[in-house]
């Protein structure tokens, strides 16, 4: 058989994590470099996957399949479609930047944390998360997916609870208590979701007799596997709940601001840009494929919740005093868009949603990391503590502005493409929903520009007077992201070409067709 590329892509960071963790504490810098190199190698592998993947080919490619737990017919089945490839690429691209951005965050010498924390642990955990995320993008066996979907929580828990940035207005003690609160909250929320999903997974096994996504989907398609309406709906809800918590969808969102607020910025990026994507991705891959009817049945409610997420998240972002929490609520609003696109059941909506996952990952990473650099300089997360930074550190301000403009999806930057696709896709089927969602773009402008104005413009605050501009390391982190944002905004075709076939498949799974234009219908 051929070289197990997908396994390698997931296994490399896993091994890297172990290796990094094994580095002796004295050699912290070595651990950092090791982690960076591993993540770059993973990026290379992901690139190979991207190249080897043929958009025109079968739905799932580079597949691997081995028996694993014969008793339950659990198989080790991997395979990627366009959506998965895109997201794997996103993950592989972001992790090196996350590592680079967090270069000093876990270093006791830098952060001045009284409690010594193993630096290499930090990076090992990040790599572990990467491995799990990648494999849950690849898994085509429901059980396999579930395992890693849940296992992800463990490293994330430690990343959130174990490492925080100094920037806390109430000092280290409150910070640590807040951190542990956030970490526990994160864990509990996702655990509850996961357990409910576990029930649904078992239920699925009872109904279908095996865990293979492809087989079940095929059986559903050709009608050989019939589910009673209620069974299907319950199973759907079980899956969807878990994904909605992870995504997060209103009103299951409250863990995100805490987690993102308390964690170090790289970890916050990890959460919102990478880990949460698993939730939305899984909606697209599992909910729609396995339970098409139920998905359609639930669509109205989900659309409403998504709408609420969009508006509500944006409004709360406006009301925040804390930069990181602001970004968190903005992300909630964006996840609303993604879910909206997924359940609009139009090819524009779903392609848009997939692009949105990628673009939101990049844009949030850019904005959040720059914000992190800003915070690390001033040592405060409160917007009120800044002002006039633009005059002192123009490059920082510029990058921050670009990140912000991406967040408000300015045309010419990547997020615009996806957001507009989502809106059009939604509008085509549900005009009212589309229009309401459009208000989100105004609010996005509001919170972004208010943030920029309060922090960057105006008279220079004395505290920021001698704030240094971006350093080389930080530029190395930010520049590629910005370039990527601009490139994908100007020429997203490569991405859409990969995604479209997969979306077409999904559309056929749910037996939906794009609504025809009125005029052509008239003809």
């Amino acid at each position: 058989m051929s070289f197990p590329l997908l396994t390698a892509t997931a296994a490399l960071p896993a091994l890297g994590a172990i290796a990094t963790a094994a580095v002796p504490a004295a050699r912290r810098t070595a651990a950092k470099w090791l982690a960076l190199v591993v993540s770059l190698a993973t990026l290379a592998l992901a690139a190979i996957v991207l190249v080897r993947f043929d958009p025109g080919g079968d739905r799932y490619q580079l597949t691997e399949s081995h028996a694993w737990i014969k008793a339950f017919g659990v198989r080790y089945e991997l395979g990627v479609d366009g959506i998965a490839v895109a997201l794997i690429a996103l993950t592989a691209v972001l992790i090196p930047f996350v590592i680079l951005a967090g270069w000093h965050d876990a270093d006791p010498l830098e952060t001045g944390n009284t409690r010594w924390r193993p630096t290499q642990g930090f990076f090992a955990l990040i790599l572990a998360v990467e491995a799990m995320v990648i494999i849950s993008f690849e898994a085509t066996d429901v059980f396999l997916f579930y395992i890693f979907f849940e296992a992800m929580l463990i490293p994330m828990y430690f990343l959130i609870g174990g490492f925080g940035d100094r920037a806390h207005e109430h000092g280290e003690e409150t910070a640590s208590t807040q951190r542990s609160y956030a970490a526990v909250k994160f864990l509990l929320y996702n655990l509850v979701g996961g357990l409910i999903m576990l029930a649904a997974v078992i239920g699925l096994y009872v109904v279908a007799g095996n865990f293979s996504l492809t087989e079940i989907a095929a059986a559903r398609a050709n009608g050989s596997l019939h589910m009673a309406t209620n069974t299907e709906r319950w199973l759907f809800l079980g899956f969807f709940f878990a994904f909605a918590v992870k995504a997060p969808l209103w009103p299951l969102h409250t863990w995100l601001p805490n987690a993102m607020g308390e964690a170090t910025t790289p970890v916050a990026v990890l959460i919102t840009a990478v880990v949460d994507k698993v939730g939305t991705f899984a909606m697209l891959r599992f909910c729609l494929q396995l339970f098409p009817e139920a998905s359609k049945w639930a669509t109205p409610v989900i659309l409403v919740l998504a709408l609420i997420s969009i508006i509500y998240g944006a409004l709360l972002a406006v009301g925040q005093r804390d930069i990181k929490r602001l970004v968190a609520y903005a992300s909630i609003s964006h996840f609303g868009f993604i879910i909206l696109g997924i359940f609009a059941m139009t090819s524009q909506g779903q392609s848009g949603a997939t692009l949105y996952m990628v673009n939101h990952g990049i844009s949030t990473a850019a904005l959040m990391l720059v914000a992190g650099f800003l915070i690390s300089r001033r040592g405060s997360r409160l917007i009120a503590d800044y002002g006039g930074v633009q005059k002192v550190a123009p490059v920082l301000a510029g990058t921050f502005l670009i990140g912000g403009l991406a967040t408000l999806s300015l045309p010419g930057l990547a997020p615009f493409v996806s957001e507009f696709l989502v809106l059009v896709g939604t509008f085509a089927r549900y005009p009212v929903v589309g229009i309401i969602a459009t208000f989100g773009i105004v609010l996005a402008a509001l919170y972004t520009l208010v943030l920029y104005q309060r922090t960057m413009t105006g008279p220079v605050k004395t505290e920021v007077a001698r704030m240094p501009d971006l350093r080389v390391r930080e530029l190395v982190v930010v520049t590629p992201l910005i370039v990527l944002l601009i490139f994908l905004g100007v020429y997203p075709k490569p991405l859409t070409d990969i995604v479209n076939p997969a979306v077409k498949q999904t559309m056929s799974d749910v037996h939906e067709k794009d609504p025809k234009p009125a005029v052509e219908a008239a003809k």
């Binding site: 909250k185 209103w250 009103p251 969102h253 409250t254 509500y312 409004l315 709360l316 406006v318 009301g319 925040q320 139009t346 090819s347 524009q348 392609s351 848009g352 006039g388 005059k391 510029g398 403009l405 300015l410 045309p411 010419g412 615009f416 493409v417 507009f420 696709l421 809106l423 059009v424 509008f427 085509a428 005009p431 589309g434 459009t438 208000f439 773009i441 105004v442 402008a445 520009l449 208010v450 104005q453 413009t457 105006g458 008279p459 020429y491 997203p492 075709k493 859409t496 070409d497 479209n500 979306v503 077409k504 794009d514 609504p515 234009p517 009125a518 005029v519 052509e520 008239a522 003809k523």
Partner: protein, 631 residues
């Protein structure tokens, strides 16, 4: 030839990229690079123009397909350009005036250490604006649309250390964003209605769609136009936008960007023609803004704000004309071009004045400047004559045509609109004369400022005056050049179409009445500001005056309704999120804890109570078995 179109956009875009990423080492030459690229873009424009003139009217439309931008299912957005007479007009205006203002800025921004950045932004603006007028589909137009918004945001807030500037910039962007919302909804509607949003197909299919849909699209487009062109009810940002450097006000907030709304409407002529109700709304908006801007312009003492008011009202004219349909499209554009000239000239003049008066903007602190800065005076004066529509100058032709067209709309609407237009002409004459008199005539009113050095007015350097002179020429002759032999009409007609309507009154009557109101306006202004000295401190003034000074309370309304309301909404939502949404979860956790605490008490450690449960269990088991047996 077609391939040059992309260069039009590329040149300034390149300039922006180089200047913004170039870093400090480009500070010395940055402004030259920017100007050169803007000029080169103008040259390309001229070349294309010459080429276009060489062809006959049918084949004048050039297109250039670059690449497929967003292809998803039926949703096909391309990066493709379309250059027809309408676009060409704009290209020349934008690049021409743009280049002039680049030159002007070299002098104006000389002492600003961030001049390179300024030129970068200007180039960025040019690129976006050109993209806007060259796009061959609405989505690409949308990119340009927001691009100019961004550029204007950056330029208004160019002096970010001034909180007022930062706020104004934010406000401009937000208000525009509301308009953009309209544009994006319009695009979605087009997609759902026609399955495309490329100009050609949409306009062909426009006939097939239901009028309701078309009206909806048209109104959404109008909303977009209102945002960008500062029309009621989205006009509030323009006044504050004057926080930006004066060249910016001249280029973006007078000559080019703010006229994008007019372009949008004229470009979408086929849709509007098929949606008369929408057209009516357009005319109403135009008429209202026309008066609104004029009234505001009368009350402002800040010279730039006064000009901003006038800009508003002039664009009101254009929108009004555009709303009139085929009767007015051409004149809307024509007025747009002439206005581009004289208003840019006026602003540059104002800038020159401020330059000489170390950035004093209050006209009450000017006076008698004509002797100090003659060139500025002359150019400004010509611009003034042009805008009030002095016979023979640009404004005269273009505005006169619009008023005629308004009457030609026919019916009571025609009368009302025509009347409003006339009234507007009168007020225009009034406030422009006021500006003129307060600035250049009367005795000098300036005193030393708080740190005691007296402003000594002086003429601006050549690099600033030359553009003003050029623009002055434009504002003098453009109108005549366009109108004689209906050159402009024949030039644009293939794109916009034209019809004469049925004027209830002869053109001559209209012209004469215009003259009359003009004289009245000027006379009134002279009586007010020419005869008696102008108080340095503004008198309290009538209720209307005070309202007008506050932009007719628009901002207060926004502040009370939107800002305050918004703040309260967000605050309460933050509270709700923390207590309610989060509270539910934490409450569940707490109740769980309490429950377990209670259950814990069952484990009281007394052997006997355990025995009871055992015994009970045994009883239950027996019961179960018995039941099983019974069943």
């Amino acid at each position: 030839m077609d391939n040059l179109i992309a260069l039009l956009v590329a040149a300034p875009l390149l300039g922006a990229a180089v200047l913004l990423c170039g870093g400090r080492r480009l500070d010395a030459v940055g402004h030259w690079i920017g100007t050169a690229l803007a000029a080169s873009s103008f040259v390309i424009g001229v070349v294309l123009f010459a080429d276009m003139l060489g062809k006959n009217a049918e084949h004048r439309t050039l297109t250039q397909f670059l690449y497929s931008w967003i292809p998803v299912g039926g949703f096909q957005a391309d990066v493709a350009f379309q250059l027809d007479q309408l676009s060409m007009t704009f290209v020349l205006l934008i690049t021409g005036v743009g280049s002039l203002i680049h030159v002007y800025s070299i002098g104006y921004m000389e002492h600003d250490e961030r001049r390179r950045r300024f030129f970068g932004y200007l180039n960025l603006f040019l690129a976006a604006m050109l993209l806007l007028v060259l796009a061959d589909n609405y989505l690409l137009l949308y990119v340009g649309w927001e691009g100019v918004g961004l550029a204007s945001y950056l330029l208004i807030g160019f002096w970010q250390h001034k909180p007022s500037a930062a706020t104004a910039a934010k406000k401009a962007f937000l208000v525009n964003r509301v308009g953009d919302m309209g544009l994006s909804i319009a695009i979605m509607l087009m997609f759902t209605t026609f399955g495309t949003f490329t100009f050609g197909p949409v306009f062909e299919a426009a006939g097939g769609a239901s009028e309701g849909k078309l009206t909806a699209i048209a109104l959404m487009l109008l909303l977009a136009a209102c945002g960008k062109s500062a029309q009621v009810p989205l006009q509030s940002w323009l006044g504050d936008a004057m926080e930006g450097p004066t060249p910016v006000s001249a280029l973006i907030h007078a000559a080019t960007m703010v006229t994008a709304g007019v372009y949008l409407i004229v470009r979408s002529a086929d849709i509007f023609n098929a949606a008369p109700d929408a057209q009516l709304v357009v005319t109403v908006v135009g008429a209202v803004t026309l008066l609104f801007g004029a009234i505001v312009g009368c009350a402002k003492d800040d010279i730039k704000k006064a000009l901003a008011g006038s800009t508003m009202s002039q664009i009101g004219y254009m929108i009004l004309a555009a709303g009139l349909g085929p009767i007015g499209y051409v004149f809307a554009i024509m007025h747009l071009v002439t206005h581009g000239f004289f208003k840019a000239g006026l602003f540059l003049g104002a800038g020159s004045v401020m330059h000489g008066m170390n950035d004093e903007v209050d006209m009450r602190k000017y006076g008698g400047l004509r002797t100090y800065m003659p060139i500025t005076f002359v150019t400004f004066g010509l611009g003034y004559l042009a805008i009030i529509g002095f016979p023979g100058l640009s404004g005269f032709f273009s505005k006169d045509k619009i008023i005629e067209a308004a009457f030609a709309k026919g019916g009571t609407e025609g009368w009302i609109l025509g009347g409003v237009a006339l009234l507007g002409a009168a007020i225009t004459a009034f406030y422009m004369t006021r500006v003129m008199l307060m600035t250049f005539f009367g005795e000098k009113r300036w005193q030393p400022d708080e740190n005691g050095h007296e402003p000594h007015p002086h003429e601006s350097p050549k690099v600033m005056t030359i553009p003003m002179i050029v623009l002055a020429f434009g504002s003098v002759f453009a109108g005549g050049f366009f109108s004689i032999g209906d050159r402009f009409l024949n030039w644009l007609e293939p794109v916009t179409g034209h019809s004469h309507g049925n004027p209830p009154v002869s053109a001559l009557t209209v012209t004469l009445s215009t003259m009359v109101v003009l004289v009245i306006g000027v006379a009134a202004a002279y009586a007010q500001y020419g005869r008696r000295p102008v108080p340095v401190v503004a008198p309290r003034g009538s209720l209307l005056t005070r309202a007008a000074r506050r932009d007719l309370l628009q901002d207060d309304f926004n502040h009370v309704v939107l800002v305050r309301g918004g703040e309260h909404l967000t605050r309460s939502l933050v509270y709700v999120d923390h207590t309610l949404v989060d509270g539910v979860v934490n409450g569940t956790a707490a109740s769980m804890g309490g429950l377990s605490g209670r259950l814990r008490k069952l484990q009281n450690g007394y052997a006997r109570s355990y025995a009871v449960s055992m015994f009970g269990g045994a009883a239950i088991l027996i019961a179960a078995t018995l039941l099983m047996r019974a069943v």
